[in-house]
Amino acid sequence: MSGHVSPISLYLTIFMALMVLTGVTVFAAFVDLGQFNFLVAMIIAGFKASLVIWYFMHVKYQSKLTKLTVATGLFFLVILLGLFLVDYGSKALTGMPPLLN
């Protein structure tokens, strides 16, 4: 016997949570939160993705090596997006965005 077998009820719970959170995302998009609309949408999406990774993809039950591998990927994604935006954000003095000048 290799691998943890999750109960069906867990999968159904995660499924329902994902569906409810999808509804919450749509609902939140219709509320004017200013700059926070984007943040809220991304937090919800991040939470949904975590549920899928942790339970559907069984990372919860995997070895530390696997968990570290997953974390490494997310770490580099943060570097990619973070430094990319810092780079472009610091170009304010050079006439960005290009098409509007």
Partner: protein, 261 residues
């Protein structure tokens, strides 16, 4: 003595699971190698899509009004439906893996088939959406035409035909836009370029996923898997869930840029 060793060796060999490759000691070790390897592949996929997300972020910040306007032209109904379909297919995929883990051959096959059906439904909806974009000249390129609001999905009232040419401020009366009509024509194309690239690559991943699943379903049907060896089902599952996660981000990024005005 040598006889005993030979016998022990033979016995050990007979005890092996037939799926155990000779370069692994145990089934658990073999599975661990597969899981880590699959995740390393998925990391390259995360960064692959990550580059597109980075491009999306920069253009969204630069041309927010164009993104908001163009995003409103997408159908929330189809987008929401597809999100639900894809989440549902993740559930059926998880069930398929679970049935493979617990030696339920027929159920494994059935869940896999259902997953493929849901994946096909998703792609079918995508075809409807793409066709709609072609019809409205919202495909970037030569025939692209951003006339502010031909057919808003959310059943908004009929637009004044002249609204587009009168400049951005007239657009639907949402609020004052920072872009004039010419700029909108240019910058909404950037949104739709990203829309087609990201959803197109996502759809390509789904087509590949369905292709993988066809093979896995055949293997399951042939009885290749049992509670000790179901790695291919689980790996196909990891891939499918990954595709689901990409969509979980694409949906709010593309469909919900600014819906509250």
């Amino acid at each position: 003595m040598s006889n005993a060793v030979a016998h022990a060796d033979e016995h050990a060999h007979a005890a092996h699971h037939p799926a155990l490759q000779h370069h692994f000691d145990t089934m658990a070790q073999q599975k661990e190698a597969a899981v880590v390897g699959m995740w390393v592949f998925l990391l390259t996929e995360i960064l692959f899509f990550g580059g597109l997300f980075a491009a999306y972020m920069v253009y969204r910040i630069w041309y927010f009004d164009a993104f908001a306007e163009a995003s409103r032209s997408l159908s929330l109904f189809w987008g929401g439906l597809n999100t639900a379909v894809l989440i549902g297919s993740s559930l059926t995929m998880a069930m398929a893996v679970r049935c493979a883990q617990t030696n339920k051959r027929t159920a494994t096959v059935n869940w896999l088939v259902l997953t493929m059906v849901l994946g096909t439904v998703f792609l079918g909806v995508k075809v409807i959406e793409y066709a709609d974009k072609f019809e409205h000249h919202h495909v970037p390129g030569y025939n692209f035409q951003w006339a502010a609001h031909e057919a808003p999905a959310a059943g908004e009232h009929a637009p004044a035909a002249l609204a587009a040419s009168e400049g951005a401020a007239a657009a639907e009366g949402h609020r004052e836009l920072s872009l004039n009509a010419d700029q909108l024509q240019l910058t909404t194309q950037i949104y739709f370029s990203l829309y087609f690239t990201m959803t197109g690559l996502h759809a390509l991943h789904m087509i590949i996923g369905i292709g993988i699943m066809l093979v896995i379903t055949w293997m399951a049907y042939k009885g290749r898997f049992d509670e000790e060896y179901y790695t291919p089902v689980e790996m196909a599952g990891l891939y499918w869930h990954f595709v689901d996660i990409v969509w979980i981000f694409l949906f709010p990024l593309l469909y919900l840029v600014e819906r509250h005005v």
